[in-house]
Symmetry: C2
């Protein structure tokens, strides 16, 4: 195999109760990348389509992630990367993670799969750090493992693959405003009330139990966030209206996707998810703020190979 084309999906981190540890993988939206072996050694980004991002390897999320796996593997070749960027940077659905995860997944395939998924996540986190300033796996893990994931620990990196209920669908809205990850992190308190933390870890436990037991109503009840949402929702115009519209139209729950501004909702069944999408569109159409929405199955597979030669 000398060349591979992959689809690296968007992801939702935090999932209301699981700030910094939970995430799930989307299916409808994602970056496409072509990675090709080259005789010349090193990592070269030859094309970025879609958004204006640095081509210089060490300044690019995908470049830095590619270097991490490349320098570890020390192969007898180089790689060139074409990025067809579909996930808007700063949208809150794992744009930088998709680039970082996709490239390490692809290089691993081209090298004959010497690394496992946890190792790939570790390499991808090096790239993610370029965008967010620190290494986080909460968007990386669902992209590489697929489905729902829980980051048990960062050092050493340990990722748990949670079950994915088969009839679960996500609806996303991305209001076209900018929320910087760093800003979204700075708005959070360093200390939190014990009582709120207890509520949060009870919900994390309940959510994991709900995924294992296919208990959709419990999943909805667990989608609560008393820690982060009260602060970050202020950065997202009409957040509460969107959430209210989603839930009153049958969504199990809604929350901020990653550090926002995207808002996710989860629903049982595609019909409900589509109805939720329409209700959210109605809320946002009135605001005059540009936005887009989409509905997606939870992607249990993660990154996909589109073609190889």
């Amino acid at each position: 195999m000398n060349q591979i084309k992959i689809f690296s999906p968007a992801t939702v981190a935090n999932v209301s109760c699981g700030f910094d540890v939970l995430g799930f993988c989307l299916d409808t939206v994602g970056d496409e990348m072509i990675i090709r072996k080259t005789v010349e050694k090193g990592i070269k980004i030859t094309k970025i389509d879609g958004f204006d991002l640095p081509l210089e390897t060490k300044k690019n999320v995908a470049g830095v992630a590619a270097l991490a796996i490349y320098e570890d593997a020390k192969p007898d070749c180089g790689f060139e990367i074409e990025i067809y960027k579909k996930i808007k940077p700063g949208s809150g659905i794992g744009s930088s993670s998709a680039s970082a995860s996709g490239v390490v997944f692809a290089i691993n395939e081209l090298l004959g799969k010497p690394y496992n998924k946890t190792q790939l996540s570790d390499f991808a986190m090096k790239g993610e750090a370029v965008a967010s300033g620190s290494e986080h796996a909460d968007n990386i893990a669902p992209g590489i493992f697929g489905g729902f994931t829980l980051v048990k620990s960062n050092q050493p990196l340990k990722i748990l693959e949670l079950p994915t209920p088969s009839n679960l669908y996500a609806t996303l809205i991305h209001p076209q405003i900018e929320v910087k990850t760093a800003e979204a992190r700075n708005i959070l308190p360093k200390n939190i009330p014990m009582q709120d933390a207890i509520t949060q870890w009870s919900n994390v436990g309940s959510l994991v139990h709900a995924l294992h037991t296919n208990d959709y109503p419990l999943l909805g009840e667990a989608l609560q966030d008393v820690i982060v949402e009260p602060h970050r929702s202020k950065l997202i115009p009409h957040y509460n209206e969107v959430k209210k519209a989603a839930i009153s139209n049958g969504a199990l729950g809604s929350g901020i996707s990653g550090s926002g501004p995207s808002i996710f909702s989860l629903s049982e069944g595609i019909e409900t998810a589509k109805k939720v999408e329409q209700a959210i569109q109605e809320v946002y159409t009135k605001t005059g703020i540009e936005f887009y929405t989409f509905t997606s199955k939870i992607n249990a597979e993660g990154i996909k190979i589109l073609s190889s030669e």
Copy 2:
């Protein structure tokens, strides 16, 4: 049925990472109670064997719990209660909860089971509040439901039954010192660092996943407590030595049982649990502090009927 004799087991609340929400049920140690229908209306405690506790209904944990179910059911009879108390009050293994849970379980049986387990837990919590000053279900729930439980919410009360790995054993040591529940609560901070809270809810999620997947090593990794243990362990002499001895002898993990002073360890297999018990005994024998230890299967059933007539 006019009379019932039951076994109401000791329980372990918190389970390291799950302060105020997680608990599991023991099997070896528990109170016995005889509850009998009487023509005379009302609740009467006729005998308390083992420890010096108030016979007056409204001052007794079991009495208050019994009144709660009794006043709701309004039956055409009364009940008298004999308590054979085996769990030492203040030991940290749910002594007051066992009395409260046992009596409501028994009265429900004598009434023909009109209430479900969540309703029984609600009644028992009224009794528990007499001992601890507030209504908590973290020891009540594992006694009534059996196995591992997670208190999803207190209002309304919602309890999740988690799976119990079949080869899991607990080893308990009760150092004969007094730690008052109120004191153990007051020592805790009202606010906690966000980073510690994240670690805690990652561990709660991991523990629930470990129970669902029979993953004993992961269960051990999840038995961490960065929130409560650093404070409460100071109230328990030689706590760290006990923990170290348990883990170096094969225990998956150790932690404070409830608000202490009892310390629990969990092990895969009874042989390991017994070896852990011996190692802990060796640590404590040297201290000159009185103590007792026991090893128990996790009791998936909860409260048991010993006889009825």
